[in-house]
Point group: D3
Amino acid sequence: MKRVDGRNSGQIRPVQMTTHYNKYAEGSVLIEIGDTRVICTATIEEKVPPFLRGAGKGWVTAEYAMLPRATGTRTVRESAKGKLGGRTMEIQRLIGRALRSVVDLEQLGERMLTLDCDVIQADGGTRTASITGAYVAMILALNKLVDQGMLEKIPVRDFIAATSVGMVDGMPVLDLCYTEDSAAEVDMNVVMTGSGRFVELQGTGEEATFSREDMNLLLDLATAGIEELIYLQKQVLGQEITSRIGQV
Amino acid sequence: MKRVDGRNSGQIRPVQMTTHYNKYAEGSVLIEIGDTRVICTATIEEKVPPFLRGAGKGWVTAEYAMLPRATGTRTVRESAKGKLGGRTMEIQRLIGRALRSVVDLEQLGERMLTLDCDVIQADGGTRTASITGAYVAMILALNKLVDQGMLEKIPVRDFIAATSVGMVDGMPVLDLCYTEDSAAEVDMNVVMTGSGRFVELQGTGEEATFSREDMNLLLDLATAGIEELIYLQKQVLGQEITSRIGQV
Amino acid sequence: MKRVDGRNSGQIRPVQMTTHYNKYAEGSVLIEIGDTRVICTATIEEKVPPFLRGAGKGWVTAEYAMLPRATGTRTVRESAKGKLGGRTMEIQRLIGRALRSVVDLEQLGERMLTLDCDVIQADGGTRTASITGAYVAMILALNKLVDQGMLEKIPVRDFIAATSVGMVDGMPVLDLCYTEDSAAEVDMNVVMTGSGRFVELQGTGEEATFSREDMNLLLDLATAGIEELIYLQKQVLGQEITSRIGQV
Amino acid sequence: MKRVDGRNSGQIRPVQMTTHYNKYAEGSVLIEIGDTRVICTATIEEKVPPFLRGAGKGWVTAEYAMLPRATGTRTVRESAKGKLGGRTMEIQRLIGRALRSVVDLEQLGERMLTLDCDVIQADGGTRTASITGAYVAMILALNKLVDQGMLEKIPVRDFIAATSVGMVDGMPVLDLCYTEDSAAEVDMNVVMTGSGRFVELQGTGEEATFSREDMNLLLDLATAGIEELIYLQKQVLGQEITSRIGQV
Amino acid sequence: MKRVDGRNSGQIRPVQMTTHYNKYAEGSVLIEIGDTRVICTATIEEKVPPFLRGAGKGWVTAEYAMLPRATGTRTVRESAKGKLGGRTMEIQRLIGRALRSVVDLEQLGERMLTLDCDVIQADGGTRTASITGAYVAMILALNKLVDQGMLEKIPVRDFIAATSVGMVDGMPVLDLCYTEDSAAEVDMNVVMTGSGRFVELQGTGEEATFSREDMNLLLDLATAGIEELIYLQKQVLGQEITSRIGQV
Amino acid sequence: MKRVDGRNSGQIRPVQMTTHYNKYAEGSVLIEIGDTRVICTATIEEKVPPFLRGAGKGWVTAEYAMLPRATGTRTVRESAKGKLGGRTMEIQRLIGRALRSVVDLEQLGERMLTLDCDVIQADGGTRTASITGAYVAMILALNKLVDQGMLEKIPVRDFIAATSVGMVDGMPVLDLCYTEDSAAEVDMNVVMTGSGRFVELQGTGEEATFSREDMNLLLDLATAGIEELIYLQKQVLGQEITSRIGQV
């Protein structure tokens, strides 16, 4: 039984990552997964948020947004509404938390890393594409600090990437496109490290429920998909930078 | 090895639910789990949100807030700040989603159920206590509609309750109090039905990661804890109302 | 001629004050006057607002809010609206002003006292119940500072309590419940000290007016009611704490 | 003992009212009381607020604001802050309530009267000057409706005006200027009708209290001052319009 | 062919400037151009905005607002809406930029000049009247600093004034009143100096376009009108102050 | 004398327009002028804003935003600030006005066209690039309506494009990059039609002034630059679509 776009249940869509997409950011990547496109930029500032002042360590945070026509019908801008919606807050908190899980904030020093993930076009999986892309942008920015002698090592313990899995028409599938996502009974976002450990796991049955067996099938798919994404991250970053990760 | 408050790893705190706590709400309960206290009220309105107008079905939504001194140090009111924080939005979206997973919205008809969860005192697990209490308030409100002949049956497919589990000092524990929550390497919120299926699963390693084996241990604890909570919900609701649930 | 709930014109509703209702706040009380219930907590912070920095004196302020189902029909949260309403602002300014009238701000030192009054259930007289309860929470918090040796004396000159009076169907009545309040031609809130002096007096004829004679009758009722409330405050605080008030 | 500007304790400052100050408003007046200057405009719209739709009666509301340099040091605009302050809300609610007390809303019909009181220069007593001036602007607007045959009579039962009284250095004084207001132990705003009845009475002891005897002295002063203001309103409105008031 | 109010195409409306209109502001003027009336006040504060701290120079900024009944139908207050509209922002940025073009910010020193332009009545040309009036208020405030010995010279290089020109029914006209402005095919606001140089030029064809020839005719009219306005500014300021301008 | 990037004074930067850049929008283009990159999308909705309901004509509006790292240092998001800045409002009002000047709103019918201009990378001239690109996106969207038979003709009277000119070190130059823009004494944005008429002209001397002669030199440069841009628009749109413009 084929999926709506002809893929197998365990197949991810074509992935492309264009690094140095932005000439100003300390690190940047345009990540494209199928028709989902996200610009991820990493900004490094020599300051920390108020709650960390004088604590001798840094911080990593993320912001997420969608252009009005990232979606099929025009979405009103949150700047025009005058406030961030719940979905946006939830996603940017997730991205920040995911990245912080592998960063050694003490080694980072009193610096603030901001990852901006701006969705140019949305076809499902924008939050997981954001995490996968933001990781690359972050590494590029930190590597620049190493090259400039401002850091000895890249203060990152492991790779991370993320993908979505879900039950669609009773079948567990990997990397849902928008059409599948809208029809899914269960939707699960998984963030994992290069060593196969979980960073974040969010499974939701919107107007539905799922068994522990379903969950196990979904996690198997997610694990395989994330391994593939981390393989691609390593290719894009190149051998030299890759070898600098996990040295802390 | 004992926990900070003397409990075993798989033991939940004392639970108390005072129904009809509020004289105006269609359904209400004060739920106390250890020192965590949440007032849950259910409001039924004969209208639906704009996106459901004319769709012939209802909606269930939730709002969550904490009093300023629910916490050890005073928290600034979100009304004074002029906006809801990301944590609040995330939690109230979770509560609403969890309740909707077992409600038959068509049978509910063009009605809107709002569950207000106001934390009077917070000692860990406020979002899961809110779900467990809001479920009871919702059932009481719907049962009143049945008694008034406005609904034939309670349009709810199953019980749901929620609890938190986590790894604290490398040990998996059930129903974390605030002290444990602050120290946990992994924090997982689980929402399950009376028939043992997942509704929502949110596992997070803040500045840490966890293995699939850890996850399985945590889910075993959560499953047992939720069974206990649903047993208590049934006792509080009484046999007659309990027998009206799952008839749709 | 009896009132809607059988009381005499000069009779206040049953009053109950549960002290130490909250385990975190420096002082707290749950005040219940009839079906009106308000949680009052006192927070002491070792800082002052910007306009008092370096002035060598402290400040007392108050915040007031209602839970959505404190009222017969659900009230939209001010945090969801993104701003405080005029009624809320007016009430919390009144509570703060009333308490400040008896506090010796110099003796308080560079400290900030915040009284949070959260209405759990509203059946008329929430602002005056808030003042009466907040006074007790404030004294409990200040007494703790005395016990801890951080203050020599409780820096409070006198007791204060508040009640409402009004003309209902041409009859002056004390302590209006919601039904009476809605029907009143004249509504007056009175704050008085233990020595019988006025702190605040707010008389309003909504779509009506009142004579000076009416006013005098209403003030007589209010004076008697407030004496009774202060008697109850003294009982709840106990003889030892009571004896520490008015020593400045 | 003379006051700071040489007046007697019971003397009001020079009052001037320039009617038809604005060419667009249905009614308008520039009221000057000493150095306090307020532009009051009355707008009549053939609609009512949502809560009165179909109720067959009208509404009267007020808005109050100060220009940035109405005050000695520049006040930040509330439009720039993005919200109305508590003082503004309190005052505009007071003005609206005061005017509504003498308007027959049924006779007004499904119309909305908005009184805008904009303080050009503030030297104490801006809220009471606003009420006194807004009354005149309102009458001019309603009289125009009568002239146009849209109303049979001016639907207003009585005159109203307002003034402030207070205890300054232990002496009761009428119509406080800013210097006196800042130093007053007790500050009372009184709104009265042409027949000597109270509409609103707000007495406040900021960091002080007052006796019932003080109150009576203050009310005597206020009564005399308001009589004088109403005499001036009648002069400004002229005999013909004056004779049309109180005919409902 | 006469204009709607009988003027010739190159004729400005009667102009009146009442200086020292406000007793608190460091400089103030009420400018009236036809039925357009704007109160302009200048505030001098001994501080600079954050982006200029320690830069050894000052800043000039402006704010613009309209009273609700400055217009034919009542305009909702921006303070009530909770935000400034685009038109307001555009205008106040224009006024600030125009004034800064002739101020020597280094000579001004670490001071902040705020020009508040509040439109009491609007009959077209409020932004250009604001610039013309704000210039006078600014000079009066700076001259006071010179008189007080806090500045050696008025740190202003030249006069500036502004007017509007436009094509109405195909005819170029000067100083449009509201009726003309509403009907104009092209609307141009011009700010010029006493020496005839442009400071700002904003030509707009709303749903229309204009030729370079049209533009030249309009600029000729504007140049003549601004010369006249600057002549009047000099008369109002008097010879002594006028002679102090342009000395930097 | 060469410019900072080696161009002649009258030379525009390389221009590239990638049409159909977004798969969801009715019309879209990625416009790149030098290192300035803007995504322009056109949305057509079958509705009109409230002020045009029932007027039998349509509306064209625009929104403008910058990604946080469009700029050299990170810019805080307006959605996070909770309000649009003055610069954003000014620019999006300009874009909308410019496009409306050539659209026949009656022929457009009761439709709303929204042009979103999102700056991915900013190197000067983002508002003029937005106008030039938004015009192309708008034509593509309208042409689709013609192809679908929903419109008979493209309801657009002429081409429009925009560029910036300015005085840099006393030399008039065309199409300023960011470095030049920061140093310019005079900055002018010009919007013109295909037939050489002005739509909008905004010349500003920030802390400087300019003569009429300067203005004429700048307008000559702008005219030539805009001709070039319109030539490129025609190439990108192709002969068939180009021939459909100006037929109304």
